[in-house]
C-alpha cells in the first residue's frame, strides 16, 4: 500500500510540472500584454517598459518560467501583477471558500442522490423510477449559471429568504455564512446529485441481482434489513469512489457558480486572472487545482483498494 501511494505521488510530480508548463505556454500566447493593460488609461512607453522589466516580461520564456518555478518550489507564488498582493495570501483566502462550497455541494448531493437512487433501484421500472431518472437527467442537463439565476429569482428576489449574492466568512457569522452559501452549494451540487443518484441506482441494481441477496431474502429476512445491511453497504463502495473523483470536477462548476453569486472563491480567481492577464495568478491557481485533482484521484483509488476486499462478507 505504502509503495503504491509513494509511486502515485512520484508520478504526480512530473504531471504537475507538465501542467505548469502547458498553462505557462498557453498564457504567454494570449494576446493582451499585461504591461499595457496595467498602464491603464494613460499610455507612457517608459512606464510600460518599466513594468515589463519589473515582471520579467521582457525575458525569454524559459527564463520567466524558471524564475516562477524557483519561487514555487520555495512556496512563493509571487505577487499578483494587478494588485501587487501576494498570491499565496489570495489562495489562502479564497480556496477555503470554494472548498466549503464543494463540501456542502457533495453533502447535498449525497443527501439527495443516494436516497433517490435507492428509490429508483428498488422501484425499478415503475413511474417512480422513471420520474427520478428524468429529474436526474434534467439535473445533469441544466446550465449551472441558469439554475443559479433562477434560484436567485425565486428565493432572493421574490421570497427574500436568501441574499442574492456575496459571501460572509464562517468565523464572522456562521448564520450569515450559511445563508450566503446554501443556494450556491445547491447549484453546484445539482449535477453531482444527479451523478450520485445514477451511480447509486446502477450499483444497487447490480448488487440486487447477486446471490447473497437472494439468499438473504430466501432466509426470510425483512426487506428493510436486506436492503440496509447487505445491499446498501456493498453498493456504496463504487458510489464513494466515484464521488471522490467528481469532487475534483466541482472546480469547473465552481467557476460559474461563483461568477453568478459573486463569491470571492477560487473559481472566480481563475476567471478574473485570465481576463486581467494576471499570469501569475492563473498559473498558481491552475497548478493548485491540478494538484487537488490528482490528490482526489489518489484518495479515490486508495479508498477503492481499502474498501473492496471487505466486500466479500
Amino acid at each position: 500500500m505504502l509503495s503504491y501511494v509513494l509511486r502515485r505521488l512520484a508520478i504526480a510530480i512530473p504531471t504537475l510540472l507538465l501542467v505548469s508548463i502547458l498553462v505557462f505556454s498557453l498564457l504567454k500566447f494570449l494576446p493582451g500584454d499585461p504591461a499595457i493593460a496595467l498602464a491603464g488609461e494613460e499610455r507612457d512607453p517608459a512606464v510600460i517598459e518599466f513594468l515589463r522589466q519589473k515582471y520579467s516580461l521582457d525575458q525569454p520564456l524559459y527564463v520567466q518560467y524558471g524564475k516562477w518555478l524557483g519561487g514555487i518550489v520555495q512556496g512563493d507564488f509571487g505577487l499578483s501583477i494587478r494588485t501587487r498582493l501576494p498570491i499565496g495570501e489570495m489562495i489562502a483566502q479564497k480556496l477555503p471558500v470554494t472548498i466549503q462550497l464543494s463540501v456542502m455541494a457533495m453533502i447535498l448531493a449525497t443527501l439527495i442522490g443516494i436516497p433517490a437512487g435507492i428509490i429508483a433501484a428498488l422501484k425499478r421500472g415503475t413511474a417512480a423510477d422513471y420520474g427520478v431518472s428524468i429529474i436526474g437527467l434534467a439535473g445533469l442537463s441544466v446550465p449551472s449559471f441558469w439554475l443559479g439565476i433562477m434560484l436567485i429569482l425565486l428565493f432572493a428576489v421574490t421570497l427574500g429568504w436568501f441574499p442574492s449574492g456575496g459571501y460572509v466568512a464562517f468565523f464572522d457569522s456562521p448564520v450569515d455564512n450559511l445563508r450566503h452559501t446554501l443556494l450556491p452549494s445547491l447549484v453546484l451540487g445539482t449535477a453531482a446529485a444527479a451523478i450520485v443518484m445514477r451511480h447509486t441506482r446502477s450499483a444497487m441494481l447490480q448488487v440486487l441481482k447477486q446471490d447473497y441477496v437472494r439468499t438473504a431474502r430466501a432466509k426470510g429476512l425483512k426487506e428493510r434489513i436486506v436492503v440496509v445491511r447487505h445491499v446498501l453497504r456493498n453498493s456504496l463502495v463504487p458510489v464513494v469512489t466515484m464521488s471522490t473523483l467528481h469532487l475534483g470536477e466541482l472546480l469547473s462548476g465552481a467557476v460559474l457558480t461563483e461568477q453568478v453569486f459573486g463569491i470571492p472563491g477560487f473559481g472566480k480567481m481563475i476567471v478574473d486572472g485570465v481576463f486581467s492577464r494576471d499570469y501569475a495568478v492563473v498559473q498558481a491557481v491552475v497548478l493548485c487545482s491540478a494538484a487537488l485533482f490528482l490528490l482526489m484521484n489518489l484518495l479515490a483509488d486508495i479508498a477503492y483498494v481499502i474498501l473492496s476486499p471487505r466486500l466479500r462478507g
Binding site: 494576446p31 493582451g32 500584454d33 499585461p34 499595457i36 493593460a37 496595467l38 498602464a39 491603464g40 488609461e41 494613460e42 499610455r43 507612457d44 517608459a46 512606464v47 518599466f50 513594468l51 519589473k54 499578483s80 494587478r82 494588485t83 501587487r84 498582493l85 501576494p86 495570501e89 489570495m90 483566502q93 479564497k94 432572493a156 428576489v157 427574500g160 441574499p163 442574492s164 449574492g165 456575496g166 459571501y167 459573486g262 470571492p264 472566480k268 480567481m269 478574473d272 481576463f275 486581467s276 492577464r277
Partner: protein
C-alpha cells in the same frame, strides 16, 4: 470580593457592548476592484473612490468644480502664472505619525515625477521644480504658464503619501499610508478593502464612521439587491435601468450628479490602413454621426437617465460650448453624404470592451447606421485585449470611455493634442494644437471659454471621435445615511457622511 469582581466584569461587558454598538461600520458596494493602492501608479477609477477616503490631496473640488482647500489652505500665483506658492495646513500628520510639511510635499511631487512606473508623470510634467520655502510653505515653479495645475492637484497627482511609508524598497501598495480621514486596515483581493478611522485626522470631528469597507460587487443588480437587503449601506454606479426600483423604495435614497465622463466612438483617422474609408473621409464620419440618434441610444440603453451629447466636455462644465448643439438624426442627409464620397457601401468595424453598456450602444449604433447604408461589424473583446488594441491604435472605430477631469484641458489635450496620451488614433490638426496651447496658458476664464469654443468647433468638423453621451452618477444609499454629496467626478467623499439619527 467575588461580587465586586463580578460587578466589575459586568460593567466592563456592558461598556464593551455599548462601545461596540457605537462602532459604526459603513459598507460600500463597488463596481470594480482597484488596482495597486498607490496614488503614483494607480490607474483605476475604483482606486480613486478608495483614495478619497484614505488619501487627502493638496486641493479638492466642490460641486461646481471650483478648487477648494484641503491639505493646502491658500495659494498665490506670481504675475506670469509660472510659479505658485501654497500655504499648507498646520498640525497635519500622516496616518503613521509622520508630520506633513513642505518637505513631504516636495518628496511626493518628486516621487510621482521620477518613479519608474508612475502614471502621474504626464500630469506633473509642467512642474519644473519644487522649493521648500518653510515648514508650511512650498512653491512650485512651472516650465510655462499652466492654468489647469490646480485641477491636476485635485486628483491623484495631488495626493500626499507618507515619506516614511514610501521609502525606498518598501512595497507601498501593500500597506498604503496617507493623510486622509481613514487609514488602511486590510485588503482581500477582489473581495473587500477595509479602512478604519484615523483619530489624528485634522478634521476628525467630521468623521462619521469608525470603519469603512469597500466590497467588490461587479454585478450592479446584485449590488442593488444587497443594498435593499441591508447588506450594504451605499452602492455606487446603479444601473440606469434599476433607478425605478431605488426611487420607489422608501428605505433607500438616490444621490445623483451629472458626470464628467464621456463615452465616444473614436475613429482611426491617423492610420489609413486601419481607418479605411471612414478614417480618410470626414464626410463619411459626418454621415455616421447623422445616421444615429443619440437620444434613442440614451433612452434604449440607459432608460434616458444619461445625458446624450455631441461634445467631449459635459454640459455642466462652464467651458461647454452651447453654440454647437448635437445634430438631429438625418438619414437622407447621411445617405447623400455617402453617395458624395462614392464607392462601395462603407464598412465599419467597431471594437469595444465587452461590457453590457458598450455592447448595447454598439448594437444600437449598428442597427441605426445600417439604415443609412453603413455595414457595421461588431468586435467585442474582453478588457485586456481591447485595451491593447486601443493603445496600439489597432482598430477602425472604438467605443472609448473617458472618466473626465475637472478642467477641460486634460480631456481635450489628451485626445486632440499632437502628443496627447489618449490620442491613439493619431489625430493631428495644427490649429487645434495652437488653440489648446493658448487655452492652457491663459488664466482668464472668459478667454479660455472662447478658445475652447473654437477648439470644439474644430473637432466637431474633423470628427476624430463622435462623442455619444455623458454617464451621470447614481449612488443608492440606505435612507438613514446622511451627508452624502456626489460631485461631478462621482467620488464618494467620506468626511461628511454620517448616520442620520
Amino acid at each position: 470580593m467575588g461580587t465586586q469582581i463580578k460587578l466589575a466584569m459586568m460593567a466592563t461587558a456592558i461598556a464593551m457592548t455599548f462601545t461596540s454598538a457605537q462602532a459604526a461600520n459603513l459598507r460600500v458596494g463597488m463596481q470594480d476592484d482597484p488596482d495597486a493602492l498607490d496614488p503614483a501608479t494607480s490607474g483605476t477609477y475604483a482606486g480613486r473612490i478608495v483614495f478619497s477616503a484614505m488619501c487627502d490631496k493638496l486641493v479638492d473640488i466642490d460641486a461646481k468644480l471650483e478648487i477648494v482647500p484641503q491639505l493646502a489652505t491658500a495659494w498665490t500665483w506670481n504675475a506670469g502664472g509660472t510659479e505658485v506658492t501654497f500655504t499648507l495646513r498646520d498640525g497635519v500628520k500622516f496616518q503613521d505619525g509622520t508630520p506633513f510639511d513642505a518637505e513631504a510635499v516636495k518628496f511626493n511631487i518628486e516621487r510621482m515625477k521620477s518613479m519608474k512606473d508612475s502614471k502621474r508623470k504626464g500630469e506633473l510634467a509642467p512642474i519644473d521644480s519644487v522649493t521648500v520655502v518653510d515648514a508650511t510653505h512650498v512653491s512650485f515653479k512651472l516650465k510655462s504658464a499652466f492654468a489647469p495645475l490646480l485641477a491636476v492637484l485635485s486628483d491623484r497627482a495631488g495626493m500626499m503619501v507618507s515619506p516614511t511609508a514610501a521609502a525606498e524598497g518598501k512595497e507601498f501598495a501593500a500597506n498604503p499610508v496617507c493623510a486622509g480621514p481613514f487609514k488602511f486596515k486590510e485588503r482581500r483581493a477582489r473581495d473587500v478593502i477595509s479602512l478604519e478611522k484615523f483619530d489624528g485626522y485634522w478634521n476628525a470631528a467630521a468623521i462619521g464612521y469608525d470603519t469603512v469597507q469597500y466590497l467588490y460587487i461587479p454585478d450592479s443588480t446584485v449590488r442593488l439587491s444587497r443594498l435593499q437587503a441591508g447588506d450594504l449601506e451605499i452602492a455606487e454606479r446603479i444601473a440606469p435601468t434599476d433607478l425605478g426600483a431605488v426611487r420607489g423604495n422608501p428605505a433607500l435614497s438616490l444621490h445623483t450628479s451629472p458626470g464628467l465622463a464621456v463615452s465616444h466612438l473614436m475613429i482611426n483617422v491617423g492610420n489609413s490602413e486601419k481607418g479605411g474609408a471612414l478614417g480618410k473621409e470626414a464626410k463619411l464620419r459626418q454621415a455616421l454621426e447623422l445616421s444615429i440618434d443619440r437620444n434613442v441610444i440614451n433612452k434604449v440603453a440607459f432608460a434616458g437617465e444619461f445625458t446624450a451629447d455631441n461634445q467631449m466636455i459635459p454640459p455642466s462644465s462652464v467651458f461647454y460650448d452651447k453654440s454647437h448643439p448635437a445634430p438631429a438624426r438625418d438619414i437622407e442627409k447621411a445617405k447623400a453624404l455617402i453617395a458624395e464620397v462614392g464607392g462601395d457601401a462603407p464598412v465599419v468595424e467597431i471594437t469595444y470592451e465587452n461590457s453590457l453598456a458598450d455592447g448595447r450602444v454598439a448594437q444600437i449604433v449598428q442597427s441605426m447606421a445600417s439604415e443609412a447604408g453603413f455595414q457595421i461589424e461588431l468586435v467585442p473583446l474582453e478588457t485586456a485585449s481591447a485595451v491593447e488594441r486601443y493603445l496600439a491604435g489597432n482598430f477602425q472605430a472604438y467605443i472609448g470611455n473617458w472618466s473626465g477631469r475637472a478642467d477641460p484641458d486634460p480631456t481635450l489635450y489628451s485626445f486632440f493634442g499632437k502628443d496627447g496620451s489618449q490620442n491613439v488614433n493619431k489625430y493631428g490638426n495644427p490649429d487645434m494644437d495652437k488653440t489648446l496651447g493658448e487655452a492652457r496658458a491663459s488664466a482668464d476664464v472668459e478667454q479660455r471659454k472662447a478658445l475652447y469654443a473654437k477648439a470644439t468647433g474644430i473637432y466637431l468638423t474633423d470628427l476624430p471621435t463622435i462623442p455619444l453621451y455623458h454617464p451621470n452618477w447614481f449612488y443608492a444609499a440606505r435612507a438613514d445615511i446622511g451627508g452624502i454629496a456626489i460631485y461631478p467626478d462621482g467620488l464618494l467623499r467620506m468626511t461628511s457622511v454620517k448616520p442620520a439619527k
